[in-house]
Symmetry: D2
Subunit: 339 residues, 4 copies
Amino acid sequence: MIITIKKNANSEEVKKLIKGLERQGVTAFEIQGSNFDVYGLTGDTSAIDEKAIQAHDCVENVTRIAAKYKLANRLMHPEDTVIDVNGIKIGGQENIVVIGGPCSVENQEMVIKLAQEVKDAGGVMLRGGAYKPRTSPYAFQGMQTQGILAMVEARNKTGLPIVSELMSSDKIEEFEEHVDIIQIGARNMQNFELLKELGKRTTKPILLKRGFSNTIDEWIMSAEYIMASGNEKVILCERGIRTFETETRNTLDLSVIPIIKEKTHLPIIIDPSHATGDWKLVESASLAAVAAGCDGLIIEVHDNPECAFSDGAQCLKPKKFKSLIDKARKIAQVIGRDI
Amino acid sequence: MIITIKKNANSEEVKKLIKGLERQGVTAFEIQGSNFDVYGLTGDTSAIDEKAIQAHDCVENVTRIAAKYKLANRLMHPEDTVIDVNGIKIGGQENIVVIGGPCSVENQEMVIKLAQEVKDAGGVMLRGGAYKPRTSPYAFQGMQTQGILAMVEARNKTGLPIVSELMSSDKIEEFEEHVDIIQIGARNMQNFELLKELGKRTTKPILLKRGFSNTIDEWIMSAEYIMASGNEKVILCERGIRTFETETRNTLDLSVIPIIKEKTHLPIIIDPSHATGDWKLVESASLAAVAAGCDGLIIEVHDNPECAFSDGAQCLKPKKFKSLIDKARKIAQVIGRDI
Amino acid sequence: MIITIKKNANSEEVKKLIKGLERQGVTAFEIQGSNFDVYGLTGDTSAIDEKAIQAHDCVENVTRIAAKYKLANRLMHPEDTVIDVNGIKIGGQENIVVIGGPCSVENQEMVIKLAQEVKDAGGVMLRGGAYKPRTSPYAFQGMQTQGILAMVEARNKTGLPIVSELMSSDKIEEFEEHVDIIQIGARNMQNFELLKELGKRTTKPILLKRGFSNTIDEWIMSAEYIMASGNEKVILCERGIRTFETETRNTLDLSVIPIIKEKTHLPIIIDPSHATGDWKLVESASLAAVAAGCDGLIIEVHDNPECAFSDGAQCLKPKKFKSLIDKARKIAQVIGRDI
Amino acid sequence: MIITIKKNANSEEVKKLIKGLERQGVTAFEIQGSNFDVYGLTGDTSAIDEKAIQAHDCVENVTRIAAKYKLANRLMHPEDTVIDVNGIKIGGQENIVVIGGPCSVENQEMVIKLAQEVKDAGGVMLRGGAYKPRTSPYAFQGMQTQGILAMVEARNKTGLPIVSELMSSDKIEEFEEHVDIIQIGARNMQNFELLKELGKRTTKPILLKRGFSNTIDEWIMSAEYIMASGNEKVILCERGIRTFETETRNTLDLSVIPIIKEKTHLPIIIDPSHATGDWKLVESASLAAVAAGCDGLIIEVHDNPECAFSDGAQCLKPKKFKSLIDKARKIAQVIGRDI
């Protein structure tokens, strides 16, 4: 951590500040500059609060050098984390997983039919929303427990592991019992109370979506919350960030793939459906994501998007989903991987 | 709602789409244009899903005209909502409330002392965090129940009503019992499960902060969630939005004040401390907010910001807080209000 | 164009507004809704000013349906534009071009050596900055005319056509004489006076970078400026947009590729070097861009990035550039194209 | 400047990097940390290129401490710059100027009539566009020289100094002869060639608008360009930044006022008309700007906004403009200033 001190600062105040920091276990070194003096702090700075330092009149600014995350940090865990879900591996240097399914589970028949179509197309897991985060209280809120049970039935028929979104901690036990990967949506990425409970009350892998306005560092810190609370099986999922551009629902940020792989050891998958909000853009984004090095794709598939209960505009029909996987597989092979 | 249809569209598909919509209770009118045909839907469109319409091949785009919110809508409730908190009125055309206090409650003595200083300066309510949403799991997470009880003690001594942030629904009863206004932080603005519980399980007013990357419409829809679930006492609070500018923590968007007042009947208050992240900018932002027409300010105050457990950089000392209120009062009087 | 009128509007004002619009050659159709009335305008609305309509008290809002651009519009020109540069074709369904070279031309030897290395690696054009848009007046501003002449010499030795950035209209004749593609940088994308001069005073193709905070529609309108002034040879170039994320210099928006191809008939190339600002991210972004369907890449290459006069951090060494092209070629082949 | 070096870096490469930097006249000090080593550079670092340092494999990151601007820097010029325009003072601690007028000059009569109305309302300068930066080539491009001459005539009749936007350097002499303040629009804020010419070829004050997606630092660097080229009379003007929010045209960032005053000695004025794009929001934003401490306002005024040739939606009628100034004056007096 680097602290820049104003040249005209009260030297007593500076001395007091530095002593206080040293009492927290770090060592401070001073460099005198022409316009500013600089102190470098070495040692474990993860518990030091930049903002309390910044509050001092004598301080011009504070820069953190070492990341605050530890368990998610590639520096401390150089090996890729590979997460095993009923025998399917997510992460590592080899295979890329494709997860498909409807935005919302609408009834048992549709989800079983879709599960089979996802499997036939080359998908290895089934996604489906039973609890839905809707902007409007008047919109369809999901089939809830019945939706989860319909997914379970689809898994029984097809063997595909199931992924579904959890929205509140009182359902953790339901998800622990029935679901194979617990998804946390973008809007709950910084619901810290929920993150802590996920660490404590489930051993299922967590698919943690990036908040649509969260930095990469904040996202990793949310993974760290879950890991520090006891569950290290975290899969990161980029689903587009909010920008000034309104042509797409969000702007898919594929540069996160190499950055996440450098900073962390966690798997990173891409959701092109929510990122673009338009099925016509999904194939282009999916192939790009695979070429960029992602560990998986999670894609919305629906037999009849015009009648979907939610997000119809971004669903692929099963035939297009298959065609996408076929191309994605060849691109994966170019970069030494496979689907 | 306006639906634009491609000129080369399959007319059977269009007919089917329009019939389906009419079955949902709306009436459709057609206008033939040179490059597109347009259908206008009249009637109650609040339950119609734009994205399902967008999913049709024949559709170029869909534009919603009427807002989806009803209970929060000024059109349907022209009178200002005024919320009474132990005799203090928030909203309306007259007084402006100033709420002050520490970011985190650190111990009982400090919060009692600060409450008295807030009151002496002209503040009418006490804020203080007992449950803290921290980006890092390794940072101070708040005094929790002990913090709430310390706030209660401060209210007993000074008479100031208390405002504190709730982070999960399992504490609603604790807050219902002890707190006068329940604050929902920016990161939980779209924690829809929590919003629904607030509507059902408490009658206390809710201070709903704007998510740092949420549009005004999304923010009002989150208020609508609480209202539609049974609690109409919602106070909106702007605390800055996330932009490309890094000089301030967030960018305070004061244009929301006249916009919220036009679109809704709810009170709107401003948090200049979190918006700017820098105490040196708080006075300027506060005076601007009052001049712009806000119904209140919520400001962080601390006797010793350098030692604050959180967000020290943005705390005002009590003396500066008093000086700010004195200026703000005179500006309020220029525009026909008072503090 | 759709105009929404307030229910309580003065009917005389509405009548006057609609008559005024009809005098501009469009036809208006009315739809009466429950909360609003709606007028649809058909005919050529490209010269109608939304903001003047919006200025009327009776108007709630105005929505444009048809795009304002004509010459760039795919609807009116369904065939792909293919631009021929000394026999190299940019655009269309087949080949993808790779352009390489230094950020700044530093001296004649370096640019000749780099041109040869670019060619050996599989690049088909040479880029190099002679006039440099630098944020600081104290930074290296480019070799200017000497830099252009050094590029010409490199073309003489290698046969590679040259691309360089023009910053002011008084150099158009110099560029017309020496350069094969004239680049317009992101910061000049809305320098409308310059755009008009490019239409009038040169027949060379224009590589028009997207402003880092411009929407897709604004970008196409800037292409339209050049085209409407007489030069239809415009190549669009995405180089990242400005967002809240600070981990990368900009956020590369690859969804523009299918969108530009749907809305316009112009070629679209990608600049991964400026978008990411970090050579370690360039290969991932380049492969993604090819998979997403771009018509070309423009990449910074330098023998000795540590000593580059500008933007060293984002330059690839020639060996890495070659390896990138080799992979990109295989991905191009997967989607039926070639490099 | 602070350079962070990776722990596993090649020590020869580090040595070479540091020696190279010392040859550029700075002194380097080393601090060994647990995860990284840190070098602090002291001396004049303004010409050192961070990106060339960043290009080294051994470097983790580079942080600049001292600002790159000198002439605009408050540290080196503690006194406020006050710019005298025909006896009217812009900047300093006392008066606040209000500039009013139409977006576009439409004919001589209208601008003379408006000038008188602006003056009667309390405005002290006249704004008016003669050369218009329009997104569409098919929109009205301004009256050009005839517009400037109409403004001159309005000055002759009323005595109000005139402000107009310059879009290309070939008109500098026309503006030098006729105009009192030369406005540079947001889209040209980083048209560096134009900025340099303004420094060399005119002594008139420059009103430099902030680019709608430029950081405060970039904005000051553009002022520095003009100043370093010979013209130190720069007035900064905030007109809103581009964010995800679409309810307003741009988001007005009033926190720039205290920040600009801390970092520079230049005057800062606010343009609420372009920032909000909606006349109904202009008064609220103007009063807020005055309360926040701005040195002036520039506001669009039109007798007949519904017929304005451009930007009708954001124009105030003269009567509302007068009422705004009357309120703004009282707020100015609260904070010890006057209008």
